[in-house]
Symmetry: C2
Subunit: 232 residues, 2 copies
Amino acid sequence: MASADQEVNEPAGLNSARARVRMRVPSVAERVAEELRYQLAEGFLVPGSKLTEATIAEDLGVSRNTVREAFAELAGERLLLRQPNKGVFVATLEAGDIHDVYTVRRAIEVSSLRAGGSPERVAAVRAAVDEGKRAAEANDNEGLGSANQHFHGAIVALAESNRLNTIMAQILAEMRLYFHKATLNAHFYSDWLTENERICSALEAGELERAGDLLLAYLNRSEQQQTAIHGA
Amino acid sequence: MASADQEVNEPAGLNSARARVRMRVPSVAERVAEELRYQLAEGFLVPGSKLTEATIAEDLGVSRNTVREAFAELAGERLLLRQPNKGVFVATLEAGDIHDVYTVRRAIEVSSLRAGGSPERVAAVRAAVDEGKRAAEANDNEGLGSANQHFHGAIVALAESNRLNTIMAQILAEMRLYFHKATLNAHFYSDWLTENERICSALEAGELERAGDLLLAYLNRSEQQQTAIHGA
DNA sequence: TCTGCTGGATTGTTCAACGATCCAGCGATC
DNA sequence: GATCGCTGGATCGTTGAACAATCCAGCAGA
């Protein structure tokens, strides 16, 4: 969600009149969690593979306890699965998980969209649509995927709710993990583009009910497609 | 959520034909987290108070590292707030938090209710309503509160989504923490009872749209009341 | 009154250790 | 040959101790 690099080379900022935002230096455990999140999203760690505490600790040059703390965080986000006395594993798609994930998305995305949002938030949705168009013109499959995630994230952001935003961020992280590059072909993307465009237009026109219906239909269709590819 | 006592005095069960459910002995860290959750829900730990690692570790007779792990879990559930190098504190109600919480509830409760559910799940909703009635007759304020929580939990359970259930459980835990006994008077409860009854009846009658509207109106009203009591 | 230092307390992180648990392999038994 | 039971190794769960980093309150001095 945020870039990896941490810019802490500007201590002069402390002397400004009001140093309101405390420049947070993430703890080691958080950085480990961030690194693992990155590797999960990027597909370096495939679902089902085992993560040994000692190995990760050595690879990243941190203590085993610190790795444990990171594991606990990621397990809370459902990205890792902890099996007592056996180890932690990259989460795998269980039966019913697809329906489960889409149930959550239907609830929070449609609800957020139907309630509308400030002009700035609506503009953010439009920006995500444009981002997708540009990626399509550039034949950038990777970019198309993240643009689509930005689109749905922007829809939830309409509600201005921190809790909904973090829930959605976790759901999107799960989807990145499960439905990785292999399952994403151009067919899906072209579908997204036109659909996102229509939803965004309806939103901008204030036709919230219709926008919600479109989004709901899209999510149902997407669930069917994913279910067809992976198991139930 | 579950009772504290763990019954592990029946090793004979292992000899049965199919020992399907592995009797899980919660780890020490989980038990610590459970104990803290209990104390938070019960109001022994008031919002804003500080929890010192060493103190908790000594009180519960566990290691400081184990307490840390429990803290991390509860911080992930927004029940505790971690301030780097300062300590962990019981979460307090920040500006906008009430609206935030109710935004989540509107999204997932109304969505779940509008989609209906299996007869068993609907019966569970009815059971929660009855539980509230019995508590009212017995003048059991404590029981009324938990009955209401069961009611709203049962509504979300209609959707048969593990993820939605855990989200709702966390939200309810937050509300127990924030809106504790002090803020709960008989006035609120009587309102709940009749409203829950109407919603449940509409659900049973299959009038899902109307049930959703009733729930939505109730949540809006409840948010206004809570906002009036606590700050914005 | 404001500034800057200092000491104590607490957290962040590491390390080493030990028991508990799981798993694979291997031999013994029927 | 298949099943059972054992055993050893690997890994996890938890502990205790240690040390650096950070924060905070109090105090001295300008």
